[in-house]
């Protein structure tokens, strides 16, 4: 026996509607998790990532021992959390002897794991170790510039994948209108070798220049680290096709049966479909029909009588 369950409060209904799949999607939320064991660097990296993404991130503080992203059975916990918090990107940090200072960046499609990439952290410098003029400190929630430098990002498939994941992670919401005074941060990623990427977070200084476009200057403010590529898992083909599909992908239909003429102007052709008069449903106006019949009969009689009169005359 099935039972229909609907939310009893307006708030619950609004939350459910927010989480429903939409045609045009708003920003992805990030889930930040700790693994079984975390070193000081890993925990500070996770904390600072959370601060950078304050508006759209959720940080869990407990250790999660049963999450192993690269193993087939170890993703169930991740998927449950993703469903519970409605997050589609996750950052999982751990520290083992074999993989010190490990960070797994992953994405979800329909709350199922879509792809994963594992990086190691080296040369980490925290937010607090940078000294700069506080005037230029970036505000929370501003849309960042993202810069990728290096031929590695094009040639090496793992770096290509990392580029895509980092774009997704740092992008935030897709907006239509942007306030030009609110541009104050940039993420810089450089492929310094085929396996290493240097990532840092900078504030923007807009200096006066002769033209409308101000001169941009970068000041390093945020955490900086070296990411060493370890493992990655690309999404399988069918899932990728489905996830990349957008509603605007359909090719534009050309307008048929419309003609533009200099003499006549815009002309359109209309083809009438076959009107199956026998199968049409007439409205049930039986009384009206009777009346019509009576009236038509009357008219007939009148014309007949007139004809008769005429003929008789």
């Amino acid at each position: 026996m099935l039972e229909i369950r609907t939310p009893k409060t307006g708030k619950a209904k609004r939350v459910l509607e927010k989480r429903a799949p939409k045609l045009v999607e708003t920003g992805k939320k990030t889930l930040i998790l700790h693994g079984t064991k975390t070193s000081a660097t890993v925990s500070s990296v996770l904390m600072e990532l959370y601060r950078l993404k304050k508006g759209g991130a959720i940080k869990y503080s407990r250790r999660n021992e049963n999450i192993r992203p690269f193993e087939s059975g170890g993703e169930t916990s991740l998927e449950f959390f993703s469903q519970k918090t409605d997050c589609s990107i996750f950052v999982y940090g751990s520290h083992t002897k074999k993989r010190p200072d490990n960070l797994v960046l992953g994405r979800m499609y329909d709350h199922q794991v879509y792809d994963l990439i594992e990086v190691g952290i080296e040369n980490f410098k925290s937010l607090l170790s940078f000294s700069y003029d506080k005037k230029f400190a970036p505000h929370e929630g501003t849309k960042p510039f993202i810069c990728f430098t290096g031929e590695g990002f094009e040639n090496v498939p793992e770096l290509k994948h990392l580029k895509e994941v980092l774009t997704d992670l740092f992008r935030g919401e897709v907006v239509d209108n942007l306030n030009l005074t609110g541009l104050d941060r940039a993420y810089v990623c450089s492929a310094i070798s085929p396996t290493k990427v240097f990532l840092t977070h900078c504030a923007l200084k807009l200096k006066r220049s002769g033209t409308i476009v101000p001169r941009m200057e970068l000041v390093e403010v945020g955490p900086s680290m070296d990411l060493v590529i370890r493992r990655n898992r690309l999404p399988n083909e069918s899932l990728m096709k489905e996830a990349m599909r957008t509603s605007k992908d359909k090719p534009k239909k050309k307008e048929k049966n419309v003609d533009q003429d200099a003499v006549r102007g815009k002309i359109g052709k209309i083809y009438m479909p076959d009107q199956k008069l026998g199968e049409m449903h007439l409205p049930d106006k039986s009384k009206g029909l009777k009346r019509e019949r009576k009236e038509s009969k009357k008219l007939q009689e009148e014309t007949d009588s007139k004809k008769k009169k005429k003929s008789s005359e």
Binding site: K163, L180, S224, E242
Partner: protein, 324 residues
């Protein structure tokens, strides 16, 4: 979108994402000092940001209180979706019917003119137009049965209509769920798991059964259920313990004294006043005859008894000489 700089390098710029990619820069494989490397990275990034900003600030901007606002173009880099594209909902049974018949939806007014009270009344809710419960008198028609309550009948009909509507709604939602297009605020949940193979409804326990069970539970208390708090409406348990049926002491008019009969039967069995009723003569004769015959043929038949019943002699064991 691509931009050419003076050094003839082409950047891949995606203004919608504020993303810039320089695929041509080669970092020196020989490790220079860390600071040099960082400086180089920042310089390259600065060039990229400048290129993006060039494109951005040249867009037509509208001035507002907060600053100039610019219309961003849609992003060009393709990123995977978070969730699937919402699937179209299959048309409901009514919608299919309406489509076939060509019935158009008509917008109904919230307030309707009421003929009886000559004023505008709301269509749904308190004090509504044509309320089913408000009719004071229902006139009897020729087809009505004399004992029937028309008000109860109306209530029943309404219940049936509501039940039918609920069933239809459930069917429509099931069809939508099958197509993967259940509305976001609705969940279909199974209330009770049926036994595999049967479509049995959960058995409803009646009032008497509940009373029995409650009584059973009560007897397990220390005072045998005598001082248990009773819920409102709960009746005292039926007589518990052995049920004795005592025959009436005084016989009714013309009725036989049942108690006298009962005791007489018992006495006669014991004293055997009418022994022929107790003793089965035929059976007794048979038994006597059989015994006699056995005694006669008993001696000759002894050796002819079945060998299977005799304990068998163990041939492996040698006869012991007990006469020693």
């Amino acid at each position: 979108m691509e931009t050419e700089t003076e050094t003839d390098q082409i950047y891949h710029i995606d203004v919608g994402n504020l993303l810039g990619f320089n695929p041509n820069h080669r970092f020196p494989s020989a490790p220079s000092s860390r600071e040099e490397l960082v400086k180089e990275c920042l310089e390259e990034a600065r060039k990229l940001v400048q290129a993006i900003a060039n494109a951005l600030f040249n867009f037509p901007s509208t001035e507002t209180n907060d600053g100039p606002i610019v219309q961003l173009p849609p992003p060009t880099t393709k990123l995977p979706r978070e969730k699937h594209v919402p699937r179209p909902k299959p048309p409901t049974k009514w919608e299919e019917f309406a489509l076939k018949k060509g019935i158009q939806k008509r917008k109904k007014d919230k307030v309707v003119w009421d003929e009886q009270t000559d004023q505008f009344k709301r269509r749904h809710g308190y004090d509504r137009v044509n309320d089913d419960n408000d009719v004071p008198i229902i006139e009897a028609k020729a087809t009505d049965e004399p004992g029937e309550d028309p008000f109860a009948k109306r209530l029943d009909e309404k219940k049936q209509r509501v039940g039918k509507q609920q069933k239809n709604r459930l069917q429509n939602l099931k069809a939508a769920e099958k197509a993967g297009a259940l509305p976001s605020h609705v969940q279909l949940a199974a209330t009770s798991l049926p036994i595999s193979g049967t479509k049995s409804q959960p058995k409803k326990i009646g009032k008497d059964e509940l009373g029995d069970v409650a009584g059973l539970a009560a007897t397990s208390t220390a005072s045998g259920g005598k001082f248990d708090k009773k819920l409102p409406g709960e009746k005292a348990p039926k007589k518990q313990g052995k049920h004795h049926k005592y025959l009436p002491v005084v016989a009714g008019r013309g009725a036989v004294n049942q108690e006298k009969e009962q005791t007489n039967n018992v006495l006669s069995k014991i004293i055997s006043k009418h022994s022929h009723e107790i003793l089965n003569v035929g059976k007794a004769i048979n038994m006597y005859n059989v015994k006699k015959e056995k005694k006669k043929s008993g001696r000759s038949d002894k050796s002819g008894r079945s060998d299977k019943l005799k304990p068998k002699k163990d041939i492996t064991k040698k006869p012991t000489n007990k006469a020693k």
